[in-house]
């Protein structure tokens, strides 16, 4: 078990080694996208939206977008990233000649995605806090929530990787699954006023639960109640998605 973790960690470290070759370039879009959406929508559109449950639109957007970085980074790593490493770069073929096995590769990928999701949302959260968007006391919760969201969304990416026949097909997944997930997870508007059908679907979105917890943390209000409500749902969804991803992707690495 310890050796499994150790071997998985080497996979994680390999990704970090490659990632940090172009650290600034690699981080730029993941950080700048949410920051500029927050600024543009928050300041621009926010001028016309006077009151979002008693806070400015800028403040409303901030936590959701900080958490959403985990969705993007995780999904891209385990869809396009995984596919390229697997099919074009033969990274896993080389790894499998070392004591690392297929299970350790999958575990290492999940660790990487969790850490990357947490790291990205940490940076975005810090930027927000520095510009006084959000409250400090509970903000430390965000990277942890982001890690969980990254794991579950990474699982969605893996599952899609197991179905696509070529790299272009990820565009369909992106267009009809990831995009709606992003826009209907309570980041841009509260879901309370949406039709019940949409609200029910949101309940099976791990991002939605992560966003709710992130909002309670960054707005510094009823975190415990929110955690009790959305925490088990986020963990539960992750506990379904991860084994499903594992079962789907393992035969790709070992067949």
């Amino acid at each position: 078990m310890l050796e499994t973790l150790q071997l998985a960690w080497r996979v994680t470290m390999r990704h970090w080694d490659v990632y940090r070759q172009n650290l600034i370039a690699n981080m730029s879009p993941t950080i700048s996208d949410p920051v500029f959406i927050i600024l543009a929508l928050g300041i621009g559109l926010g001028a016309y939206v006077s009151d979002m449950d008693g806070r400015t639109y800028l403040m409303y957007l901030a936590p959701g977008l900080a958490i959403s970085t985990a969705l993007w980074t995780a999904f891209f790593e385990t869809s396009y990233g995984f596919f390229i490493r697997h099919t074009y770069e033969h990274v896993y073929e080389a790894m499998l000649t070392t004591p690392i096995g297929p299970h350790e590769i999958i575990l290492g990928e999940f660790i990487w995605v969790a850490l990357k999701g947490a790291g990205m949302s940490l940076v975005v959260t810090l930027v927000l806090l520095i510009f006084q968007v959000g409250a400090w006391p509970l903000a430390w919760v965000l990277p942890f929530v982001a890690a969980m969201v990254a794991i579950s969304c990474g699982a969605i990416g893996f599952i899609s990787s197991s179905f696509v026949r070529n790299i272009n097909q990820f565009q369909t997944v992106y267009a009809f699954l990831i995009n709606p997930l992003f826009f209907f997870s309570g980041i841009f508007f509260p879901l309370d006023q949406t039709p019940i059908a949409i609200r029910s679907i949101c309940y099976i979105s791990p991002l939605f639960h992560g966003v709710r917890i992130g909002q309670a943390a960054l707005w510094n209000e009823d975190l415990v109640a929110t955690l009790l409500h959305h925490g088990p749902l986020l963990v539960g969804l992750t506990a379904i998605l991860v084994p499903a991803a594992w079962l789907r992707i393992h035969p790709k690495l070992y067949r």
Binding site: R10, M13, R14, D17, A94, T97, P99, G101
Partner: protein
Amino acid sequence: MEGTANTSAGESVIECQGLTKVFGNIEAVSGTDFSLRRGECFGLLGPNGAGKSTVIRIIYGATPRTGGSLRVLGYDPAIDARAIKKHLGVVTQNNALDEDMALRDNMLMYARCVGIARRDRAGRVDELLDSLSLAHRATARIRQLSGGMQRRVVFVRALLRRPRLLILDEPTTGLDPAVRLHLWERVRALKADGSSILLTTHYMDEAERLCDRIVIMDRGRIRAEGSPRALIERHCPGTIAVFPPDPGLRRRVAQVADATPEFTWFEDRAGVNVRGPDLRSVEEFLFKRGLVPLMLRPSNLEDVFLEITGRELGDDA
């Protein structure tokens, strides 16, 4: 290095019986038996798609087998792949290098993957880069290196752990003659140091020079086995006379060869060929009939290979 593999069961490093592998409806390997003895260089030859890489991937546990029994360094790769891979080096058919990383950084990363202690990594990597004449490019990105250099980098990666079993899957395909010679020297040195080697190659001269024993595979089955000399003696002994590819000549050659039992003829890229028992008799036979060949040569492993696997292009060629 931790653990010593148990190879007490005879002196076989690889022992495989009735090995089969089915992908969907393709039977890639169909009942393969062979064994690789300790300290031996063993060649696995066969046309593209014969199943060589699949056998190799099964050996180190990267692919599950469908049937048959297999022991590698005393372990079953379906159960103990990790134990096997601690003593293994593989030159994969694809280079599978991280092209955007600097050469030395990439090798340090793999030194971590194979479990070399942090304090020993740099020393081991530098030693190997030096011995494969790559030290002067240590900081270059891998994509900037020539094909021959990249292939040597894969050798460095395979040798990091001082493997007891070295697997080479088409190690010299596409390389220039100087690089091939250089790599052959390395393989001989490793063998002299006691490594056992499993080699696949499409170069018959390479197999003839490096391998103690060879099996020839075709469509998942083993068609012949033995030392290069024994295979030539058994399947294709004698001398071959080569004629240019001319239809008139072809007719005459066919006519005279078909009429004499100990002579056979065949066509290939080079032209029309007549094979007979030995140099003297072939010469006499042809000159008497006024046929003057371009050259006479002893038959070699390539003739055996083509004799066994056929001269037509297979499905995967």
